[in-house]
Symmetry: C2
Subunit: 460 residues, 2 copies
């Protein structure tokens, strides 16, 4: 019997039949949002920490790779089984175990869909701010792996700011508990935040204790239309200087606007080259006052028009235009490279100018939108993968994009992680010494390199 058949039998037994080696099923766990595909040898669907532990112990014994997987919506290949092995799909561990309304914490399994968790806590008048664009289908486990952010990070921070403690399984199969169930805690090294953002390479999270907040009583949303991207960019940091921290400041460039012009629910004139979507929250009075203040402020900074939503329908229209963007981009070209660079706020105008230059040089359309409030720009290089010339151009555009980002004091990834697609750029952001320390940490957790190998670090 081959190793794979024997492994499959063991996995089948551990999970009471929840494992597969059928090619037509395997191929459903071979992809992610990068569009790349690698076939796993087996897919297993554990339902408990004990099963996860047994699976990892078995894989350790056989030195077989295990690749934890949420819903495969990652943008950098984090959940791709690039060397084959066992894909561990966490979809059955999808229970919200506890929402503790007295202590403002929740305990969840990794397979819970982020959007479902949002709704569940909102029913208790509570609020979980991390909100990646994929929240309708991505999982909390995936969000933890990549340290997902989303538009509300300006005021509320990212996933790592909401993870108080973890139950996780080491590659050896040993179960560990990190962090706390309380608001504060500093005992020992911060294993919790080390595992968050480690892209499933250090341990498999089986439970997370998350901090939740009271749901703000009121949210006010507005769209702000500018003639130039510079005016929009300057407005962003000026608002915060006025002692107002909006919960979102999203921005759309001219190409983005062109893609979704008909979705806003209001007319967007041709001379508009940038739109900001700004949201403030708080008590009913505070949110209304801040919204009014921002509205007047934006006009004083040169905004052509401010559309302050006055009802849920208008708010939904503004957001549906923003949310339609990702798919609407395919009007422009069949493929996109979506990079989530971050630059200091004050460098946004310069970065936008440099992106325009890359666009001119390569002739490829580059569409930029994203989280202006924290300098996190989603740059979409649009191309046709089947055209070898465009493929080469797209790759050179990406090289330039990251070079400019780093030159301006930025980072190659604000929320998507390194995975496989940014692996070659990591050594441009960090030196050898930092990467050696990271590799050393990987070895402490995973001495046989069986957990999600070939990610983040070259030749890993």
């Amino acid at each position: 019997m081959s190793l794979i058949s024997s492994l499959y039998k063991s996995l089948y037994k551990i999970t009471n039949g929840n494992a597969t080696i059928e090619p037509e099923e395997l191929c459903c766990y071979a992809y992610d949002a990068t569009g790349q595909t690698f076939m796993p040898d087996v897919v297993v669907f554990p339902v408990s920490t004990s099963e996860v532990s047994q699976i990892l112990a078995l894989a350790s014994d056989h030195k077989i790779s295990v690749i934890p997987r949420g819903s495969g919506s990652g943008m950098t290949g984090g959940s791709l089984p690039i060397k084959g092995g066992i894909v561990m799909a966490m979809s059955r561990m999808n229970h919200i175990l506890e929402i503790d309304t007295n202590n403002f914490i929740a305990r969840v399994e990794p397979g819970v869909v982020t959007g479902d968790f949002h709704k569940a806590v909102e029913q208790h008048g509570l609020f979980y701010p991390p909100d990646p664009a994929s929240s309708a289908f991505c999982t909390l486990g995936g969000n933890l792996g990549e340290c997902a952010g989303g538009p509300k990070a300006v005021k509320y921070g990212v996933t790592r700011d909401y993870v108080l403690g973890l139950e996780a399984v080491l590659p050896s199969g040993e179960i560990i508990h990190t962090g706390v169930r309380t608001a504060k805690g500093v005992a020992g090294y911060d294993l919790t935040r080390l595992i968050v953002g480690s892209e499933g390479t250090l341990a498999v999270v089986t439970q997370a204790t998350l901090k939740i907040l009271p749901l703000p009583a009121s949210v006010k949303t507005m769209a702000v239309l500018f003639q130039t991207i510079e005016e929009a960019a300057i407005t962003v940091s000026s608002i915060i200087k006025e002692s107002i921290v909006p919960r979102c400041v999203e921005f759309l460039d001219k190409s983005s606007i062109d893609c979704v012009r008909d979705k806003f629910g209001f007319a967007v004139p041709d001379y508009i080259n940038a739109i900001l979507i700004i949201e403030v929250d708080g008590s009913v009075q505070a949110a209304a006052q801040e919204a009014e203040k921002i509205k007047n402020f934006c006009i004083s900074k040169g905004a052509e028009q401010v559309i302050l939503s006055s009802n849920p329908k208008e708010t939904a229209d503004i957001w549906s235009a923003r949310k339609a963007l990702s798919t609407a981009l395919f009007k422009i070209a069949p493929n996109k490279i979506n990079e989530d660079i971050v630059v200091p706020l004050s460098s946004i105008p310069e970065m936008v100018r440099r992106i325009e230059q890359i666009q001119k040089r390569t002739g490829l359309p580059i569409v930029s939108f994203g989280h202006a409030g924290d300098g996190n720009i989603h740059c979409n290089i649009m191309y046709n993968r089947k055209d070898p010339k465009e493929l080469t151009l797209a790759e050179s555009a990406m090289d330039e994009l990251f070079a400019h980002t780093l030159e301006l004091g930025g980072t190659i990834t604000g929320e998507h992680g390194v995975g496989i697609t940014k692996m070659k750029y990591l050594p441009k952001e960090f030196g050898e010494c930092e990467i050696e320390i990271m590799r050393g940490i990987k070895k402490v957790f995973d001495p046989h390199n069986i957990l999600n190998p070939g990610k983040i670090f070259k030749n890993s």
Copy 2:
């Protein structure tokens, strides 16, 4: 020539004369707030990253311990040279290198006094929330080492939430750069938050990039007087449920009140057994509205009296009572063991009852106050160290205190760290496997165990 003399000569040369082996100077770097004393062999005062690097490389070559030191205000022995060696006092690296008002970040050296940094950013209309009680003299480097918190953590989080990136020197002398200069960043493992809270055992921080916020336009402060501690505790979590997150919710128990009764600027009747100090901030209107709402809410929850400050003098009075507490405790007994336990909010009343039982059993006064808004209670066991019977009782009280804390789902330290004083309790909070991982990480950074040895982990 002895090793120490030869080391001293080298350190003297590296730092252009800023090193000492004079006993009367060494003894000034032998203590911390635990009251324990260990003499270093040499004290050195580097002024630059390059000097720190040379000192560590030298120490590595000779396998001599280096103990980084801020201002020695730590509560758990983190900066004590328990095995002798070189104390590296960071007091000359006390420059605020940059306050970037466009990008809301600051770059600082580790020896900057926290309170000085507060004032410096406030002059630009900005705000750095972490605010340990020792902020008038503690340093940002020490705050990073312990992941300091303070009263504003309820709304604003702790030190780790404000550290974007670090420059640090490894025990080998190699200089590393971690994290980002931007609001978001997830490239590679989170070395930044691993070093924050590592109590100076992994690397010596030489520069930190900190996130700063706009200064809230208005702060409203109130003192809320209760007949019972239970009413006070229930009020805390109820306020947050009302969708208001105060920036501080401090609490004082009966013994605390007795210590500073005359300092409040208003009469505190004898039947008052608990006081909450609550602060809200925001725009002028929002803060006023929230303060009024909380005031009425507290009265509805059984508060005897709410004193809402109407001017800076009244605010200062309320805080000066709270701040006088630490020293006023010595009215009760000559020595104190100050423990910064954290329990879930809803367990505060039960914890307070259990502390009363410990008090009854041991006969030692235990005074509790602290950050009720995040469940972080500072328990002060008052005793006379010179009385062997009291010493034994105090130690058994501490054992009981931690046992109850962990039983209620809490942690042994919310902001002081483990150091040497809580070392024996760490294995009660974490299992062997977690601690082995932490020791493994220590070895990656510090293979020869020269940096602040003998801290956090037993036999380290």
